[in-house]
Subunit: 581 residues, 2 copies
């Protein structure tokens, strides 16, 4: 029973559902639905799909997430970055508008869903940790810029394609002469209005005495107002006849039952993009869910989140949608509007279903420029170049990861960008561990502590070389220690004992073990003792399975202080000793 609760969180919160939660959830759902209608149409446009796909992608997926997800505030559906990734992946296998395009998008959702569920069942959520914060920040910032630039064509009323910044910019410049000035007027007005609503409307309303809740709703409804005003303008003045691009016919009705393709070649081509979309969507979603849960002192289960998001994507694949994930903006709105349980998501889905059945004829005259404006305003809030400054100040390696991710995403596209970011951050980490910090240590007088001889005033003994190895020993740095000890012994021929202080060695793998065995052999030949100190439990357990300890030309000490007591001459060299040198 408990196990079932874990896989179906609805069994837990559903039992305790009451009237007060119901009314809070319904209010939140109304606000989110109003916000989602234009957003869903816009993200479908961004993904290169017909507008209704955006609505469909918000209905069944939201319901499935409500059944399987663990976050109480997360709102699932199409989001900007994932839509961009979808356009980039599907664009490789089909022309936008061609028959295969929509099926490829379904297939992509199917593959991501299957991959996420698989990771969830295997409890492999840690996989997402390979995306470092700097890489994610850099990627989101670069994607936001790419998306904003990709929408400029709709503001100008031209058609320009491309998946990278240079491609997009050159396509726009080459077609500038086809600009439709009525579209520009509508689009720029809508963009300016939305920026104004976002930044200024709420304080203004509050200053004029509007209640906070009303001010909130009016601010959230900004995109809907822009949609209504520009749609009416196009209809009243017949602007579509003057070249203003409009949404046009959107089929009325509930989401259709659809099937992804099972063509092996298509599946193979889309597999890597699907993994990328899954991981990026998951990371974005989990960080939103964790932030919101922490505010209410709740927690989420990342492995169960994989199953929730996986189910949502599988749902999208079978109901005419495309890849979805938990969105930042809509989840915050849902949270702020007072959503208490995932039931708010179910009510939102019902609201969108009503919209799909009843409201689609109303968006016939909706200008594409208005949708582009809502996208631009939404994604520019994702752009945060301060991460460059912050990482530069803290660590050049992290800066390099961010800068490479931003630069490559803009220049070579989203997939190469994020893949390079991950590869670079992993390689830099391995590079750092390949040249570990090794400190020569001495005793801090009057204590039992040992510190770096170059940073502290400590007692040492020239015949005793005490090295604190500041890294786990594994294949990438196995030879490093061997070389270091050889060169230290060449400099100090008076050394009779070497103590390796293992307080910071968290692992010794087989390559490093062979290296230690070869160090031991070499020192034995030279008549120098090799000792270990402060070896941790798990490392010692492992070493005892090898022959290193039994063949060790020295001892294993519990503490470095113990090694010092046993091996060092504690007084200054005597007069006789000093003379002999």
């Amino acid at each position: 029973m408990r196990k079932l609760d874990r896989y179906l969180p609805i069994l837990d919160w559903g039992r305790r559902y009451n009237r007060s939660a119901l009314s809070n959830d319904v209010i939140a759902a109304v606000i989110v639905t109003i916000m989602l209608i234009p957003q869903s149409l816009a993200y479908a446009l961004l993904a290169g799909l017909p507008p209704q796909a955006g609505i469909y992608a918000s209905i069944v997926p939201i319901m499935l997430y409500a059944l399987f997800g663990t976050s109480r505030a997360l709102a699932v559906g199409p989001v900007a970055v994932v839509s961009l990734l979808t356009a980039s992946a599907v664009g490789q296998v089909a022309e936008q508008g061609a028959a295969g395009y929509a099926v490829a998008a379904l297939t992509l959702a199917f593959l991501s869903g299957a991959f996420l569920v698989l990771l969830g069942v295997l409890r492999l959520g840690f996989f997402a940790n390979f995306l470092s914060h700097p890489v994610i920040s850099g990627f989101i910032t670069a994607s936001g810029l790419l998306i904003a630039v990709s929408q400029i064509k709709h503001l100008l009323g031209i058609s320009a394609h491309g998946h990278t910044l240079p491609e997009m910019l050159s396509a726009i410049f080459s077609q500038l002469n086809e600009t439709n000035w009525i579209t520009v007027f509508l689009g720029v007005t809508a963009t300016a209005f939305l920026f104004w609503v976002r930044g200024r409307l709420r304080p203004l309303l509050v200053r004029f005495g509007a209640p906070k809740l009303l001010a909130d709703i009016l601010t959230k409804a900004g995109p809907v107002m822009a949609v209504l005003a520009t749609t009416v303008a196009v209809w009243a003045f017949g602007l579509d006849a003057h070249g203003v691009g409009i949404v046009g016919d959107v089929p009325q009705g509930l989401p259709p039952f659809t099937f992804p393709s099972l063509d092996p070649e298509l599946l193979q081509t889309l597999l890597v993009p699907a993994i990328l979309i899954s991981v990026i969507g998951f990371v974005e979603s989990v960080s939103v869910a964790q932030t919101l849960a922490a505010k209410k002192r709740e927690s989420i289960d990342p492995d169960q989140e994989l199953i929730g998001l996986g189910a949502a994507n599988l749902g999208a694949a079978f109901s005419g949608g495309f890849p979805v994930t938990g969105g930042f903006a809509r989840s915050v709105v849902n949270f702020d509007a007072g959503a208490e349980t995932p039931a708010a998501g179910i009510f939102t889905a019902l609201g969108l279903a009503v919209a799909a059945v009843a409201l689609t004829p109303l968006v016939y005259y909706l200008p594409l420029a208005t949708l582009a404006a809502t996208i631009i305003v939404a994604v520019l809030s994702l752009v945060d170049l301060s991460i460059l400054k912050k990482t530069w100040a803290y660590s050049r390696a992290d800066f390099a990861s961010v800068a490479a991710t931003i630069f490559l995403t803009l220049g070579l596209g989203v997939e190469i960008g994020v893949a390079s970011g991950v590869a670079i951050s992993l390689l830099l980490h391995l590079y750092k561990t390949s040249r570990p910090h090794v400190a020569e240590v001495g005793l801090v007088p009057g204590t039992q502590h040992f510190r770096n001889i170059h940073r502290h005033a400590v007692e040492t003994d020239p015949a005793l070389l005490a090295l604190r190895v500041d890294e786990s020993l594994y294949f990438v740095n196995a030879r490093f220690l061997e070389d270091l000890i050889r060169s230290r012994l060449q400099e100090g021929p008076e050394i009779r004992n070497v103590v390796l202080m293992f307080s910071a060695v968290n692992e010794v793998d087989f390559s490093a073990l062979e290296s230690l065995e070869s160090i031991n052999e070499r020192l034995k030949d030279m008549g120098v003792g090799l000792h270990l100190s402060e070896v941790k439990g798990p490392v010692m357990d492992r070493l005892e399975k090898s022959h290193l300890i039994e063949n060790l030309n020295g001892r294993v000490f519990l503490s470095q202080y113990g090694a010092w007591i046993a091996l060092a001459r504690h007084s200054e060299p005597s007069a006789a000793e000093a003379q002999r040198r």
Copy 2:
């Protein structure tokens, strides 16, 4: 001047060259030349090239290595594993025997040479450390098996192709009915003879009173004897007319001046194989050179070795050769025969040049089966399955790397095999560090030391949570600590202070910094102090560049003992305290 010495080691040893070194080097060169003639022909055969390519690949490359290399004993030329890799890479772009095949091999040598020189100039030798010992051992063993099986066709006198074990075996079985029994007789006799020479001849000769040096030379000359005997047999009985495969016409003369192709498509296809060949060749070569140098208490410079091997490969590309590296067997022979300086290599090259000019007509009747026998006997000594047993006993992760490398190399070919081995060993390492060991520690009574409360009898205070983090904190495990502290605080509501003991934390990257900041914020909200202890110098330097330390809801202690003195209640809870609970 000193800098020039470093890049041209010949300037160093050349100045001190004398008559005794000269005579030792010449003797070594004679022995190595005798050994190399059949070996060079055989490895050319293995690489799918005409036999003279093997001789050419041993002349100019050896001379260039003598100028630029740092090892005094390393003998450079075609080796078994690299020849196999060459056959596999070149086989993807041209049919064996076709015009493009030899040019592709030159191009492969050119690319590896350029890559090695580049790594050397950038001093990036550490790159080779990404190949762990288990992966190298597994790869060499699997390659040895593959090579031995690939030669069976020559012993049977059939033609069978394939790059993986299943391909080779099925090709051999399907053509078993075409077996040439005279070839089988020659090949099996030669193989048995060579195994006998290798294992039994030397002890026998010594027992019958032969001087050691003579016994050595006779043993080394085993392949030459097999070559002479079988060549004479083919010539005398006209066996080539009965279907015995022979070497045939080999052009007489010095190595020709050749050019690699600069076709961009070919370069792109061969780039990854070239990198693989370079890295594997470098690793094999450096480990041989280091082993031999250590025996004479000398040392080599791995970064300069890259330049030496790179120059050798560039030389091969322009003189009709194919990729080369330092070989284990020939280097050991060179060393044992008393080579004192790289001049021995130059004399060997001269010896081979004489062979190329004068001796090639003599190998016309040499049976391919004899060359196959020399290869089989040489490579089976590389096969060492004991690495499976050793790693199994020590660490399952290392075992998994070896097993996967062997299995995938045999089943899917050398390139996929070694690439998967590297990827698996890196991923397993990252996986291990993603779930670090974190020990809750307490004071060992009567000392200033802290140990795991589950392994040792230690003093603790229920209001003080002291955690020793046994891993560097970086993006792969950044969230782990956050989750761990949250769950520990849920279990222990009486905790008032958390001390993170950083003695084993060797790095805190930007992602982990953000995670620590968020832990700090959360604990501050809960009224719990967060303290750090035993932070190492380099880590502290880094943290001081951030706002973590100034915003820390607690203190940084030099030692865990200092934190204990300041924060713990040192006596048992008083009666009043006990009552209150």
